[in-house]
């Protein structure tokens, strides 16, 4: 139970959406810039604008979150189409933090490219889409916001339009995405067919009692599975994950960071909300036991992601697969909502993991961006002896890798073990065991990066670093991400409390 404290309110209500609005405004501002002066080449100004936009949104989201705005049932807006509650703000914080880092890191990465304004406006538009997803409380807004995230993402992946890899990645991402959104839309139509509504709370209301499901259980089940497919696409979960390794590898590294951290989190926030709020497991378990579904998906996803990651030669692709693996971990957040134990622990753990993941994974991809910037190569061997040239960045990368692997050098340690604890508490200890095996395997391949950087001898390909120098923006982004990752170990309490509260709030909304 959330203590009935005086929660601060905003007047008017829609101010609660400030983070999303800020992002949208800045995105459009950049859009306008782009339209007025397409040849504007003041990269710093554009990047600064985008960074300021996302940072300010992050600050607002963080302040709202800590002030407790929307604690409890949240601020419901526009007839229930949107809700700004703890979970929404928490995820907005994740999205905007990642976006800030990505914008900061892109300054150097995009050096010499055309259409910088377009890039930043797409990043901010996609972030806006995510923020809207976090606040969406209706399948309609979810679908539309999800597309607001997807379409700019396709463009971002293909941003290096003269680079075969980037274009191919964009093409694959787009095609799989289009297929997925068709499936998603079809699923929504079936849900609508069964319940007659798109609002999550009304869907749940229609399901209550279970009369509808006796007649229309099959249709509902197909709908739920298809909706789950849509989320699986966004979160890069099996079997809709196929785009992920390619897209993350081919895309510009900051975009990979953005997609694998923020976009994944966006997929999860809607999945959390839809399944918990709209399809309460008590009502639907007889028809479609989505907890079981997510257990299956979690096991397959984490196993596939981690095992495939273990045999990669390319660091970026390894990170891509590991990102699939992490999707599997977070799926535990849904898979362990068995009604046993403390649901808020496992759901909150999933949220916290996504938060920490936002920093550590973004940081890792930005480090890859740094290496791509230097042009020393992409395989593990190419990373050999990197620490001799760039010790600070390598310390940061080590922090990311070990934190991703769940060693206590960053917040990833706590969040991963929170997840495991939650799984055990829910009685799905076997799921925890599978996660444990995967986690140990992940330590193997993450430490390969560390080994290359610190233990191996340099290959002689590092001279290029001297040529290109040390880019300030990327360095700053990487170091900030590392500091955040490390600080989140002792200071996770700042966010874990609100995460657990938000989780229990969402869980208690369910009838």
């Amino acid at each position: 139970m959330i203590p009935l404290q005086q929660t601060p309110t905003l007047a008017p209500d829609w101010l609660a959406l400030t983070p999303a609005l800020l992002l949208g405004v800045f995105a459009l501002l950049l859009f306008v810039f782009d339209s007025i002066d397409p040849d504007e080449s003041n990269d710093g100004l554009l990047a600064g604008l985008a960074t300021v936009g996302s940072v300010s949104a992050a600050v607002v989201a963080g302040v709202f979150l800590l002030l407790g705005i929307g604690a409890g049932d949240g601020v419901s807006l526009y007839g229930g189409q949107l809700v700004v509650d703890g979970m929404a703000l928490f995820f907005m914080l994740i999205f905007t933090s990642v976006a800030s880092l990505v914008c900061l890191g892109s300054i150097d990465y995009l050096e010499g490219h055309d259409d910088i304004a377009g890039y930043y406006s797409l990043v901010l538009l996609a972030t806006t889409g995510m923020a809207m997803m976090a606040a969406s409380n209706s399948l309609a807004t979810i679908f539309v916001s999800l597309e607001l995230l997807s379409l700019p993402s396709y463009g971002l992946v293909a941003y290096l339009k003269n680079n075969k890899g980037s274009v191919e990645a964009g093409m694959k991402y787009f095609l799989v995405g289009a297929l997925s959104s068709a499936v998603f839309a079809y699923g929504i139509s079936l849900i609508y067919g069964v319940t007659g509504s798109l609002l999550l709370s009304e869907v749940a209301g229609a399901l209550q009692g279970g009369e509808v499901l006796t007649d229309l259980g099959g249709i509902f089940g197909v709908g739920v599975l298809m909706v789950a497919g849509g989320f699986a696409f966004k979160t890069a979960s099996v079997p809709f994950h196929f785009w992920a390794p390619e897209a993350y590898e081919g895309a510009p590294a900051p975009v990979s960071a953005f997609l694998s951290s923020a976009s994944k989190a966006a997929g999860f926030v809607v999945a959390f909300r839809v399944f918990i709020v709209a399809f309460p497991i008590e009502s639907v378990a007889g028809t479609i036991d989505w907890v079981l579904l997510f257990q299956v998906l979690a096991v397959v996803t984490m196993t596939l992601g981690n095992f495939a990651a273990a045999t990669q030669e390319n660091v970026k692709r390894m990170l891509a697969y590991s990102s699939v693996g992490h999707a599997g971990y977070v799926l535990i957040g849904l898979a362990a909502l068995t009604g046993q134990g403390n649901g808020e622990i496992v759901l909150g753990a999933g949220m916290i993991h996504l938060l920490v993941y936002g920093f550590m994974n973004t940081g890792a991809f930005l480090f890859v961006a740094l290496v791509e910037y230097w042009g020393v190569g992409r395989t593990f061997e190419d990373y050999n002896g990197l620490a001799t040239k760039a010790p600070i960045a390598c310390v940061a990368m080590t922090v990311f890798m070990f934190s991703l692997a769940g060693l206590p050098i960053g917040g990833g340690f706590l969040s991963k073990y929170y997840l495991l604890a939650g799984a055990v508490g829910a009685g799905v200890w076997w799921l925890a065991l599978v996660a444990a095996v995967n986690s140990a395997l992940s330590l193997f391949y993450y430490s390969r990066v560390v080994k290359a950087m610190w233990i191996e001898e340099p290959n002689g390909n590092l001279d290029r670093i001297d040529v290109r120098g040390y880019p300030t923006g990327l360095y700053a982004a990487v170091v900030i991400a590392a500091i955040a990752t490390v600080v989140l170990l002792p200071a996770i309490g700042i966010f874990s409390g609100v995460a657990f509260e938000a989780a229990s709030a969402v869980l208690q909304i369910a009838p």
Binding site: M226, L293, F307, A310, T311
Partner: protein, 692 residues
């Protein structure tokens, strides 16, 4: 009390003094004139003096016990483990023996080591000092744990001193073997110690002022007067028997009893003074001393006593036969040592507590003498130990010869040298108790008696080959002279070997009771529970060992005594006579060939080393350990590596699913969706009961 404990407060110094000499020699030895020898001599002289003082104190009727300090204690543990000193008749006697020999060996070492220009002398004297300290501490230990600890420490010193010449492969190997074989025995001993503490909650031997000692508790338990923890549902008597046998493991290891005797001949690789001190007079005696120390416990257990006696008798004979064919002087002495400790075991097992201690005393003297004499010869022969290269040394080194002869006569058991008296008593005690109704003891006696023959033979073979006849090499023609520091110890010991028997002239006492049996009286007046009288009661009590003294039919007690003495003397003389007959010649021949295949068997020591080496090396190390290693590398670790291989291979397979062709992805997505739909459809009953 205050006055006497005033003297006794110096008791720890008996061990501490040599320990200090160890430290001095170790850290400052190389700066000292005699490389630490002076410190050692001073320390052991001090120990000897103090031991004598203690002996005198005890003689005045004041056995003493004191707790030194608590090793482990306090509220947290169920029983304390302490260090303490027990000064009674037995231990003070042994202290005097040990410190005497140690002192003399230190002096002798000046000649054997310093004068020979050996390097590493500080190490030598340090180790010698540590040994003396440990041995003395072992002797005055008041409980079995402390005894075990110093028992192990003397083992360490033995290892170090055998391996003193570590540059040569032989000593290094012999040292290892000595430690390992005794360690194997100590394994059982340690179980026994642990068992004693677990059973009784105390390991004290007893003594004045000691409330509880385990022999007393055991006695009470068998008598039904106390309850103790026995294990495995055994009766107290049976369980104590197990404990006794376990402790016996250590005894047999240290005292080189069959089948743990194999290390001792090898240990002759060490410097000869070391052989004299450690491997003849003192450390090897530690085993049998331990039996004597806890005789109150063994006397309760007839089975164990029989085992002790039989092992002793067998070892006495077995080792003596091997001594017959040896070519090297120290080898003969080594087998002789094994054989003689067999006698002591025989005595203790046969109920002859006093006899055992008596032979322990005399043997310490004459065997130390023989070793030192051999050392003198070895100096003279430039470290050639082969007796066939000697001959005729009698005239060139008379002091050594006469001293050696005195020791040899004692060893052979020729009246009136000390060995006669003690060996005779050993055999007599065994005989009477055997006649009292124990065929096993009689068998042991028979073996002991037979061994007397071989003892006489190999002793005089050794003397004759070494000192008599014509010199067989140039070296023997002109041996290196030895100095006072060799001669004085030999002289002292030579005299002692001849006369020390007076301390217990049993047959004489039987004839003329005014001739005292000093040792008998001495030991019978020990503190309560630790004296010979008490032991005798236990031995003869039907509730415990249940021995009874018998006599040769028709001869009576006195007749049996003299018959036994006469018999053993006759056998000894017979053995000596055969040796004289064979080797008296100026240029004696090797007669071993006449033994035929027996010769090989004896030369190879009954293949005892072979099977033990096979056990330790071929079986344990080469077979078991190597296979364990193979198993561990291949199976246990192999499993770990396979797991990692399988993970990587399956990872390789999984990544192949990602073909790079987007159509395939669409197909796989569709496939996944269809599979999920069908699976959950069936579970959820979506198909209108079609599959239900």
């Amino acid at each position: 009390m205050a006055a006497e404990s005033g003297v006794f407060t110096f008791a720890p110094a008996i061990a501490v003094l040599p320990f200090v000499s160890f430290l001095v020699a170790l850290f400052a030895g190389k700066y000292m004139p005699k490389k630490g020898a002076v410190a050692g001599i001073a320390a052991t002289a001090g120990s000897l003096l103090l031991s004598l003082v203690m002996l005198a104190q005890v003689a005045s009727g004041h056995a003493h016990h004191m707790e030194l300090y608590t090793w482990v204690g306090g509220e947290g543990v169920p029983f304390e483990l302490t260090f303490g000193i027990l000064l009674d008749q037995l231990s003070t006697l042994m202290l005097v023996i040990v410190s005497t020999i140690a002192f003399l060996v230190h002096v002798f070492s000046l000649g054997y080591m310093n004068d020979e220009g050996e390097t590493g002398l500080p190490r030598y004297y340090a180790e010698l000092g540590l040994f003396s300290a440990s041995m003395l501490a072992f002797v005055f230990s008041d409980n079995v744990l402390m005894a075990f600890m110093f028992f192990e420490l003397v083992g360490l010193c033995s290892y170090l001193l055998i391996g003193f010449w570590f540059r040569r492969p032989g000593p290094a190997s012999a040292a290892k073997k000595a430690f390992l074989v005794t360690r194997f025995g100590d394994y059982f001993f340690l179980i026994g110690v642990v068992g004693i503490f677990a059973t009784f909650g105390t390991g004290t031997f007893g003594g004045p002022g000691v409330e509880e000692s385990f022999p007393e508790l055991a006695e009470a338990a068998i008598a039904g007067g106390a309850s103790v923890n026995t294990f495995f549902g055994l009766s107290p008597r049976a369980w104590f028997g197990v404990l006794g046998l376990l402790v016996l493991g250590g005894v047999m290891g240290k005292s080189a009893q069959f089948p743990f005797h194999t290390w001792l001949p090898d240990a002759m690789e060490g410097p000869t003074p070391v052989s004299a001190l450690i491997h003849a007079a003192t450390m090897v005696a530690a085993g049998v001393y331990l039996v004597a120390r806890m005789y109150g416990f063994y006397a309760l257990l007839p089975t164990v006593l029989a085992v002790i006696a039989f092992v002793g008798g067998f070892t006495a004979l077995f080792a003596a036969t091997m001594g017959v064919v040896k070519d090297e002087i120290k080898q003969v002495l080594a087998y002789s040592t094994i054989s003689q400790y067999g006698y002591i075991m025989l005595a203790l097992g046969g109920g002859g507590y006093v006899a055992g201690v008596f032979h322990l005393t005399t043997h310490a003297v004459f065997k130390a003498l023989l070793f030192l004499g051999a050392g003198s010869v070895i100096i003279a022969m430039h470290h050639n130990e082969n007796m066939w290269d000697m001959g005729g040394l009698k005239d060139r080194m008379p002091v050594t010869y006469y001293a050696f002869l005195s020791g040899s006569l004692a060893l052979a058991g020729i009246v009136p040298f000390s060995g006669f008296w003690s060996k005779d008593e050993v055999l007599y005690e065994t005989l009477v108790h055997g006649l009292g109704g124990s065929p096993l003891l009689l068998a042991a006696y028979a073996m002991g008696l037979l061994a007397v023959f071989f003892t006489g033979f190999y002793t005089f073979r050794m003397v004759l080959l070494t000192f008599h006849g014509e010199p067989r090499t140039d070296l023997a023609e002109d041996p290196e002279p030895v100095r006072w520091n060799v001669k004085i110890p030999l002289a002292i010991l030579g005299v002692l070997a001849a006369v020390i028997g007076v301390i217990n002239l049993v047959p004489v006492h039987a004839l003329e009771s005014s001739v005292p049996e000093f040792l008998h009286d001495w030991l019978y007046h020990g503190p309560e529970g630790l004296n010979g009288e008490h032991y005798h009661e236990l031995i003869t009590s039907p509730e415990f060992a249940g021995y009874s003294a018998g006599a040769i039919p028709g001869l009576g007690e006195l007749g049996t005594l003299f018959a036994s003495a006469g018999l053993s003397l006759a056998v000894a003389l017979a053995g000596s006579a055969v040796a004289l007959a064979l080797y008296r010649a100026p240029a004696p021949e090797e007669h071993t060939a006449k033994l035929g295949s027996l010769k090989t068997l004896l030369y190879e020591n009954y293949y005892q080393d072979e099977y033990q080496v096979w056990l330790a090396q071929d079986l344990t190390e080469e077979t078991v350990a190597k296979n364990a290693k193979r198993f561990d590398d291949g199976v246990v670790d192999g499993f770990v590596d396979r797991v990692s291989d399988v993970s990587l291979v399956s990872g390789h397979f999984l990544r192949r699913v990602q073909t790079g062709i987007v159509s395939n992805y669409a197909a796989l997505i569709t496939l996944g969706l269809v599979v999920l739909l069908v699976a959950f459809g069936i579970v959820g009953g979506w198909f209108g009961g079609v599959f239900a």
